[in-house]
Amino acid sequence: MAYEPKKQGLAAQIFDVVTLLVLTVGALYVPLYMGLAGAAKTPNPIENPTWEALGQNAAEQRQWEALGITDPASVNDMITARFDYSFSWAALIIMIVSVVGYFVLVVRLSDREYREVLDERFGSKRKGG
């Protein structure tokens, strides 16, 4: 016999959508508000910056000028900033486990649901199923 889904009232429908919305907004904004988001570059400004000291050749100096930047001091931070790619192996393992675990969880639970779908669509293959 085909599964007859429960009826859902308007309030419950709204509740479901709000739940998803809160999860969605939270996933982006919680790391932002906690100051944990993004890879910030760390500037290593040099003293008395000149184009040459900042490693900019004549052609590059013309490019900076064309972009409206004529004072090397104003881009001292931009030119000398670098990302820090050091990472902890524990964090990497957590990342791998969470990604792999997520897909394993979803595929396994999906498979359970999928068998119900197929049984209803094509008829059950199993006794009592």
Binding site: Q8, G38, E60, W64
Partner: protein, 465 residues
């Protein structure tokens, strides 16, 4: 008080209109993605330097070629609105489909938000150049999203025809800039000394890190599948449109890297908001600046337009299947568009466009896309196993299976590591989001879903079940 049974019965009588051809599919795919050439890709240069930016461009191109090959086969066979969502429903199961639907909605809505942010940023930049600095960007962000949502509300043919025109202009602008530079229109000559003097400022790790934003060159090309129910001949149009799209983007991406890397110091390029427009500024030619300004605006609008189209189709499909409240599964009685889904997603896009930094929004979009590409790998294997080639009619069969799948999985794993280098917290936060959402769906939402309705293709029972 509305309930699922009464709500769902009426809207399902109306169908989406089948009015689109291969050119519209191309415009949808390239339209969403071409903005990746106008902004965002250049963060890859910041993450690893000039060479890393180019390697990321080509490696990401390979990743997306695999995506396009796999997608063309599955979508030309599972021709239903929602694209990969409908694929997951028929091949893996409802919970996977729910997750894929969320990947699509999140990736496209975030991309739409990023586009709107870029429109505001560009207008602010140009206002500053003309002596009107301090422009308020927010009204333009709101206006862009509202206008495009209205266009989508009014009909898919007009929306994608509009996209076809503005995408063609934006692509032409890139080509014109390239030829203009080649024929000496630039005051400042191309200079690639950074490639030899400072080729890899972060070493080989920088190349891996650059792949994170290298994906931005092509992110969204898989959106062609969303129009599957509105295409006149899905088996022909979808593979043609998608493959033509990826070829267009490979050319545009390489030209873009070449021009920007030759005209802009890599330290500036790595953090620029509108790199192609900046390249036009460096040439000193006013008409090239105007052209690239128009190109940037058109590319962002075309992308946001396509994103609204795709995100609303995915949301609509989930509503129609009751994975979400079925109220969202309604088709407009006159315009035949998923109008409730279109309207509902507008404020969500605005929340992100008005409140989050560009790189965070881009990363959020990339992560959702990346999860979707990872899904495609095992989805393709399961598709071939459950329905071998001789069991069902396919619109297109991609060659060299399982090689594209293996390459895609390797590149996706590398891209996860690239995102982890610097954006690990967001990655973990996003995984937590999807895990909680999955548990919510399986243990709560699925009770409202009709089981048998989840399999609608005229296929035999899958092998092994």
């Amino acid at each position: 008080m509305a309930n699922i049974t009464t709500d769902a019965a009426k809207p399902e009588r109306l169908q989406l209109l089948r009015v689109l051809g291969p050119a519209h599919v191309w415009a949808l795919g390239v339209g969403i993605v071409l903005v990746g050439e106008y902004m965002g890709w250049n963060f890859a240069v910041g993450k690893g330097g000039m060479i890393a930016g180019l390697v990321a461009c080509w490696v990401a191109g390979l990743l997306y070629t695999c995506v396009a090959m796999i997608d063309s086969e599955v979508t030309s066979t599972v021709a239903a609105a929602g694209g990969q969502y409908a694929q997951a429903k028929h091949i893996v199961g409802p919970l996977m489909a729910f997750n894929v639907g969320l990947f699509l909605v999140m990736a496209y809505t975030m991309l739409e938000a990023a586009n709107a942010i870029t429109v505001g940023f560009l207008l602010d930049t140009v206002a500053g150049m003309t002596g009107h600095s301090g422009l308020h960007q927010q009204p333009f962000i709101v206006l862009a999203i509202m206008f495009l949502a209205w266009l989508n509300y009014r009909g898919v043919l007009a929306t994608l025809t509009f996209n076809l025109v503005i995408v063609a202009v934006a692509f032409t602008a890139i080509c014109v800039l390239f030829f203009a530079i080649q024929f000496g229109a630039s005051d400042v000559p191309l200079d690639f000394s950074a490639v030899t003097e400072e080729p890899l400022p972060y070493g080989w790790l920088g190349i891996v890190a650059a792949l994170h934003f290298g994906l931005w060159y092509y992110l969204g090309i898989e959106g062609t599948c969303q129009a599957a129910e509105e295409v006149r001949s899905p088996a022909r149009s979808l593979p043609y449109g998608t493959m033509a799209g990826i070829m267009t983007l490979l050319i545009a991406a390489t030209l873009t890297w070449y021009m920007c890397s030759g005209l802009i110091p890599w330290e500036y390029l790595g953090q620029a908001g509108t790199p192609l427009f900046d390249a036009a500024r460096v040439t000193g030619s006013v008409w090239l600046m105007v052209l690239l300004f128009i190109g940037t605006i058109f590319a962002t609008l075309a992308s946001a337009n396509g994103c609204i189209n795709d995100a609303s189709r995915a949301w609509f499909s989930m509503g129609r299947d009751r994975y979400l409240p079925s109220w969202f599964g309604a088709v407009h009685p006159v315009y035949r568009t998923p109008y409730r889904s279109i309207v509902f997603l507008v404020p969500i896009a605005l929340i992100f466009a008005l409140g989050a930094p560009l790189d965070q929004v881009v990363t959020f979009s990339i992560l959702s896309g990346l999860l979707g590409y990872t899904f495609m790998t095992f989805n393709m294997v399961m598709f071939r196993r459950k329905w071998p080639l001789d069991t069902i009619k396919r619109g297109y069969v991609h060659p060299f299976h399982p090689l594209p799948t293996i390459i895609l999985l390797i590149l996706c794993s590398t891209a996860f590591f690239a995102v982890f280098l610097g954006y690990g917290t967001q990655l973990i936060a996003m995984m937590c989001f999807y895990i909680v959402a999955s548990l919510w769906f399986h243990f709560r939402r699925y009770q409202y879903v009709r089981r048998g309705d989840q399999f609608t293709m005229p296929w035999p029972r899958p092998q092994g079940y």
